[in-house]
């Protein structure tokens, strides 16, 4: 498997097929991938340059509590790699994306109808 071609930038899905994030970066130890890094912080650091640094800094400030390292998913949680990376766990067990939580609590959940199926 080519990391750059078959793994990086793929969609990560949980055991129920719900989106968790992208493979924004990987953690490598002794030549093998040990964990997937996901979230805008890992993405920003990988993109680099002024825009990348800005994305990463914003994500770092959003995290709860601030200045957390990027969300890390150990490879033994991966069930299958196809056109997406499917995990063997449900996303409730993973770290909640801070931006999603913040927008849900401060904006979206306060609008009538946010809890209803459309």
């Amino acid at each position: 498997m080519l990391i750059g071609f078959d793994l990086l930038d793929r969609q990560i899905l949980d055991a129920d097929g719900e989106p968790v994030g992208k493979v924004d970066d990987v953690e490598i130890e002794d030549g093998t991938v040990v964990a997937l890094l996901s979230g805008q912080q890992a993405l920003g650091e990988r993109i680099g340059g002024r825009i990348g640094r800005w994305i990463a800094a914003t994500a770092r400030r959003m995290s709860e509590p601030p200045d957390q390292p990027p969300a890390r998913i150990p490879v033994d949680l991966i069930a299958e790699v196809t056109s997406a990376v499917t995990l063997s766990v449900r996303r409730e067990l993973l770290v909640d994306p801070p931006l999603e939580t913040w927008l849900r609590d401060h904006l979206i959940a306060r609008i009538p109808g946010a809890r209803d199926e459309s």
């Binding site: 930038d9 996901s38 993109i47 927008l103 809890r115």
Partner: protein, 410 residues
């Protein structure tokens, strides 16, 4: 009846691409100035969008991955971010123009200035995207937009010079008082409007919203091969009726009320009412398409939860982006910029952004890791490659043509 509704996604996507506010006016303007000398561009455009929407639909149905996922996977995060920025700019400006277009249609019906309608339309649009079921939106606006067929029927009621029209279509040239620069500017704009990037974003994301899988390949193909030609036919009917009524008199068309005139001449008040209803449904449909596409592209780039198949609270980032897109579109309109001119600019910019969207689709449609044995055959690859070259040529030519012809002013 189920079969009829099954093609609603293709029809709505095509209407948003071919007969949104910019195209309604651009087709009528081309007809008035050049006759139907641009008819071939519509044919080239319809075939092109069919080739790529078929690939996108197939990839999405088989692998479950919508188009912007592919863009990032194949171009990497940096180039995909540039594509995201470009597409988002085009999509939000177009969204603003469509809201203005709905306003112009309402202005025709009520004589209340369109700018007063804009906040109302923005709110109704947001509420629809917040609450209504995806399939309901599709069916209502896709199928109501088909009322524009009145322009096809109107052509047969109008006293047309068939020989002259046939000559224009078979001998494409600028004609008297026009030059090749403006002719080609129009051609690039009409071509770009047929292949706007948000069409494939919307179509493939819609396929996910409707939970298509490998069994739905046939549904996907029927959507593509029925929806897009139908959209192209409606666009052609606008050009044709305008060429019949305005071109012989050397009149130019620059407002929505003039575009409706051929239907009014052929059928009186009823024709006018049908035309206005059609304009309303088509522009509102296009506003929904572009509004959702802003959320789809951003969410798919970052890997967020998205879509109307989830409760809004489970897709908070997606709904926030859609909301911000609508507000940005309204803000652009409130500068009192002419919505019709706005789409003419966006068409040029979208021509420049096209190759970065279509290249990844072509690459992934050949990848067995995604598609197994459903990869492209020779025909799809041959046509796909030819169109990629055409798209590149249009992208290179768009800005110079815009500058030379001063936006087609001549």
């Amino acid at each position: 009846m189920k079969r009829v509704f099954a093609v609603a996604l293709g029809i709505l996507t095509a209407i948003g691409g071919f007969v949104d506010i910019g195209d309604i006016v651009a087709n009528a303007e081309a007809g008035a100035r050049f006759g139907i000398a641009h008819a071939w561009v519509l044919v080239v455009g319809v075939v092109g969008i069919c080739v790529y929407a078929e690939m996108a639909g197939r990839v999405t149905a088989v692998s479950g991955r919508p188009v912007f996922d592919l863009v990032r996977e194949r171009l990497g995060p940096r180039v995909a971010l540039a594509n995201l920025a470009g597409s988002l700019l085009v999509t939000v400006l177009t969204l603003g123009a469509e809201i203005g277009g709905v306003g112009l249609a309402l202005q025709l019906a009520t004589s209340v200035d369109y700018l007063l309608w804009v906040p109302v339309i923005g709110f109704v649009l947001w509420a629809a995207l917040w609450r209504a079921k995806f399939s309901v939106l599709e069916n209502i606006f896709g199928l109501t937009g088909l009322v524009l067929i009145v322009f096809v029927i109107a052509y047969f009621r109008l006293p047309a010079d068939h020989g002259e029209l046939l000559r224009q279509a078979t001998h494409p040239s600028p004609g008297d008082g026009e030059d090749w620069g403006t002719y080609w500017f129009m051609a690039v704009a009409l071509f770009a409007s047929a292949l706007t990037p948000y069409e494939v974003f919307f179509f493939s994301s819609g396929a996910v919203e409707e939970r298509w899988n490998a069994k739905d390949l046939l549904t996907s193909r029927i959507n593509v091969f029925a929806g897009f030609p139908l959209g192209g036919l409606l666009a052609f009917a606008l050009m044709l009726t305008s060429a019949t009524v305005f071109h012989p008199l050397d009149l130019s068309v620059d407002s929505l009320s003039q575009v409706a005139l051929p239907a009014a001449i052929a059928f009186g008040k009823l024709g006018l009412a049908a035309a206005i209803l059609g304009f309303f449904a088509a522009t509102f449909g296009a506003a929904m398409e572009t509004g959702l596409s802003t959320g789809y592209t951003v969410a798919q780039y970052f890997g967020w939860n998205w879509g109307k198949l989830r409760k809004p609270r489970d897709a908070a980032r997606f709904h926030t982006v859609v909301m911000a897109g609508i507000l940005a579109g309204i803000a652009v309109l409130m500068t009192s910029i002419d919505p019709i001119q706005l789409t003419e600019y966006t068409l040029v910019f979208s021509a420049v952004a096209l190759p970065l969207t279509y290249l990844p689709i072509l690459v992934v449609a050949n990848d067995r890791g995604y598609l197994g044995d459903r990869v492209n055959g020779r025909l799809a690859n041959g046509l796909g490659t030819v169109y990629l070259i055409v798209v590149l040529a249009a992208a290179v030519a768009a800005i110079p043509l815009m500058i030379i012809t001063r936006m087609g002013g001549g």
